[in-house]
Amino acid sequence: MFKISKYVFYDILRSKVIIAYTLFLLIISCGLFIFQNDISKSIISIMSIIMIIIPLVSIVFSTTYFYNGYEFIELLLAQPLSRRTIILGEFIGIAFSLVTAYLIGVGIPILIYAANATGTVIIISGIALTLTFISLAVLASVATRDKAKGIGISLMLWFYFSIIYDAIILGILFAFSDYPLDKAVIVLASLNPIDLGRIIILLKLDISALMGFTGAVYKEFFGSNFGLIYSISIMIVWIILPLSISIKIFKKKNL
């Protein structure tokens, strides 16, 4: 499995996309830290950007890579390797590359300029989001053989999690605005990894006060030890669930 990952990683490293991505992140985060003299403002800007860029790049890059690397998978299939191993190997290889890019591009600037609890939470959420969207990309890739369709599904997933889902939430909150929604809101946040990541970061930025008494609801929940374990578990579920469904589909797939 790790041997496959190793070759996937080497392969990705050879393409210029990953280097461009790393530099892009590095320039943006360094730029925000250098030209914005208020660190907490830079942190917020970085958060806003990674919440859009990371899911998008992770899912599109991984899907494209998966399809472009189909020969490699075909080659592997004729070898004494289980399909589970192949998928996991691919996943780990891609994950390692993108997480490395993220750590260099965002992690290092944060460690230099904002090595605090907020910084740590941003780094962790970024990694979790990267992994989640690679996992979703693998799902999209095994779901259909057609590359255009697969990338289409990926973009739709990104669009859904980045925009549509939040719009739906607004709709739900509007429709049920007369009801107490404390618990519902926590569930709603858990159903979107991007929202979950963002809320956890914002709470660390102590912006919860701004959220008024409802903010207290989030803070009380996500700020507690139970909430921490809860959010970490949910994030892990978001990584593992699409991946294990992918493995199930891939096991029965004809290639």
Binding site: F72, E74, L75, L76, A78, Q79, P80, L81, N254
Partner: protein, 237 residues
């Protein structure tokens, strides 16, 4: 060595294999032939585990291959058109394959030398011609000394000299007691290499006979003509 029991496979509405029962034994060279779309490649892919049959079972050395992958260490597969990671160089590809297969038996690098691939280690896979890619595929198929060789259109795209080298290699493998399954459209080649022929037609085995039998039954000396004759007879029936 390899036994299939009533293999059925549909792709959507199209039924590609309609119950295939075969037995491939070690030490023989079998040629699977049939018109385009008769299900040859699907059958091979079923054996390789790349396509999962809708029903029926495949046994390798008496073991059911569903939910198993380790049997593939005994198979060397040469695809019709080899797809390899484009960014990789030949040398890296071989190194990787050696790395991925935990080598137990001794490596067979004869083809590597005869095709002079040793001196092309620095060439990237995407720059290779179709013929060279086929040479790489062939070298890979034989490299790990497998008990079974599955070669899909092995000589298509190879220059005559390279094709000759491959044929000799196949005959050598047969002598070593290996099972070789070849699909091919070139009857002269089949005649040269194969002991018996399995003829697939619309997802079913039309016949499975030794070449000797075919020739004597039809009274033809040339295999191509013999096959054509059989086909004609069948059409009359």
């Amino acid at each position: 060595m390899i036994r299939t029991e009533n293999i059925v496979k549909k792709f959507g509405k199209l039924q590609v294999l309609k119950g295939v029962n075969t037995l491939f034994q070690s030490g023989e060279v079998i040629s699977v032939i049939g018109p385009n779309g008769s299900g040859k490649t699907t059958l091979i892919k079923c054996i390789l585990g790349m396509v999962v049959p809708d029903s029926g079972k495949i046994f390798f050395d008496g073991k059911d291959i569903s939910n198993d992958f380790s049997y593939r260490k005994d198979i060397g597969f040469m695809p019709q058109i080899g797809h390899y990671p484009e960014n990789m160089k030949i040398g890296q590809l071989f190194a990787m394959m050696k790395d991925l297969r935990r080598i137990s038996s001794e490596l067979d690098e004869e083809l590597l030398e005869e095709y002079d691939l040793n001196n092309m280690y620095q060439k990237a896979m995407r720059t290779l011609s179709g013929g060279t890619t086929q040479k790489v595929s062939a070298a890979l198929a034989f490299m790990f000394n497998p008990k079974v060789l599955i070669l899909d259109e092995p000589t298509a795209g190879l220059d005559p000299l390279a094709a000759e080298i491959l044929k000799e290699k196949i005959l050598k493998a047969k002598k070593q007691g290996k099972l070789v399954i070849i699909t091919s459209h070139i009857m002269s080649e089949v005649d040269e290499l194969a002991d018996s022929i399995m003829y697939l037609f619309e997802g079913k085995i039309l016949f499975n006979k030794t070449i000797m039998n075919i020739k004597t039954e039809t009274g033809e000396d040339k295999l191509g003509k013999a096959i054509a004759k059989i086909m004609k007879q069948n059409n009359h029936v």
